[in-house]
Symmetry: C2
Subunit: 234 residues, 2 copies
């Protein structure tokens, strides 16, 4: 049954998977012991696949239907594949992962985007770059080059924003405790997004988060390991 | 058995309970359906009770021993009183509540402290004020009056720091989902701390967090309702 799954994932010019939201789904599938075929798409392809039904990736084709949105996918995986370990052990754990997502997206990924948006552009397939530039500049209100002009000065605030993670990971090996849970996959997805493109490492060389990152990238037979990834620490 | 519990709690000159950590424990006891006698202490009393074994409140006396630290108490309540509803449904939920605490303490309560430290001083029992001033000024490196001199200018950052809560609570009535969990009690404790003392409401009148706050204060027969509390919104 697992070979009936197909995951549409966003790729760069070098073939690296780049969407932080696709990474969440890749880890979620691995957590449940599910394999999926990969359907790589570029930024400009998303409106062309599956009749343009979905505006974003991940998109997961399953025998029971096609699902977009990483949260919808995560919840459907638990519902449709109960034989694997649950992603969410309880409604409360899922609600807390939702809070974690709100924090990580708003406080961490938003800052990452402002620092790495030009790196993402430059690593995209050449045919995707005009669309990426146009859509992101419209959202940001200025040229990508202007957004990142003083990006070194934005690194301290990014590193500071990660403080609650450091506190948590000083007590337990994973955000989910002794074992990783969906919050770990959310955070790993953000760092893998940046690892795919960065020309400026986000973390200091002695950041204690690196030990957790290494544990996370090693999960599931090294799912997050790829020699094409850039260093995350200076 | 429940009448054998005694909670040492920090009180102000008007008798209001003020410690955000004691409030977590009061909500945790209520969650489990446990009643406890109250032993009110002032800031200067903590070293004098129970032989000075504990440096902070809450302290909970139980038939199985005396426990300090709100996290230790929460975990022991689940272990020693399994007949009540669990505070933590799973180790993952507990780990996520730990993350929530790291975020709330570092990003929200730290900012609250800088805005309200003089209000706390002024609301303390007169005999506690010299100790409170001396210990807090030693930690802050300046007079309390200097810490709060420009406190209005610090309100926007406090309100902004609460963004992940607003995102979460736009989807569900409580941080824990449909029902409150320990993360809700952590956050309610922080707001009750400020409600006990503030002379400058922390929230804007139209803050959507107010609906959640009202739900939270109404829990367990209005545990957080007290006519002596100040308004939390302008």
């Amino acid at each position: 049954m697992t070979s009936d799954l197909c995951l549409y994932e966003l790729v760069l010019d070098n073939g690296c998977s780049v969407s932080p939201f696709v990474w969440r789904t890749k880890y979620a599938l691995a957590h449940k012991g599910l394999a999926a075929k990969s359907a790589p798409v570029g930024f400009g392809d998303i409106p062309k696949v599956l009749g343009g039904t979905f505006k974003t990736v991940p998109i997961l084709e399953t025998p029971k239907g096609t699902i977009g949105d990483s949260w919808d996918i995560a919840e459907r995986l638990d519902a449709d594949f109960p034989q694997g370990p649950n992603l969410f052990g309880s409604p409360a754990e899922r609600a807390m992962a939702r809070f974690f997502d709100a924090w990580f997206s708003g406080e961490v990924m938003r800052r990452m985007f402002g620092i790495y948006v030009l790196d993402i552009h430059n690593a995209a397939r050449p045919e995707d770059r005009p669309y990426f530039r146009q859509s992101r500049e419209a959202r940001l209100g200025q040229p990508l080059e202007a957004v990142v002009a003083k990006r070194e000065s934005l690194l301290p605030a990014l590193r500071e924003a990660l403080s609650p993670l450091r506190t948590t990971l000083s007590r337990s090996p994973f955000i989910g405790g002794k074992e990783p849970n969906y919050a770990d996959y959310i955070a790993l997805g953000g760092f893998l997004w940046i690892a795919a493109v960065n020309t400026l490492p986000p973390l200091a060389a002695d950041d204690p988060l690196l030990a957790w990152l290494n544990r996370g990238l090693d999960l599931f037979g090294g799912l997050g390991r790829d020699p094409r990834l850039k260093r995350l620490a200076a």
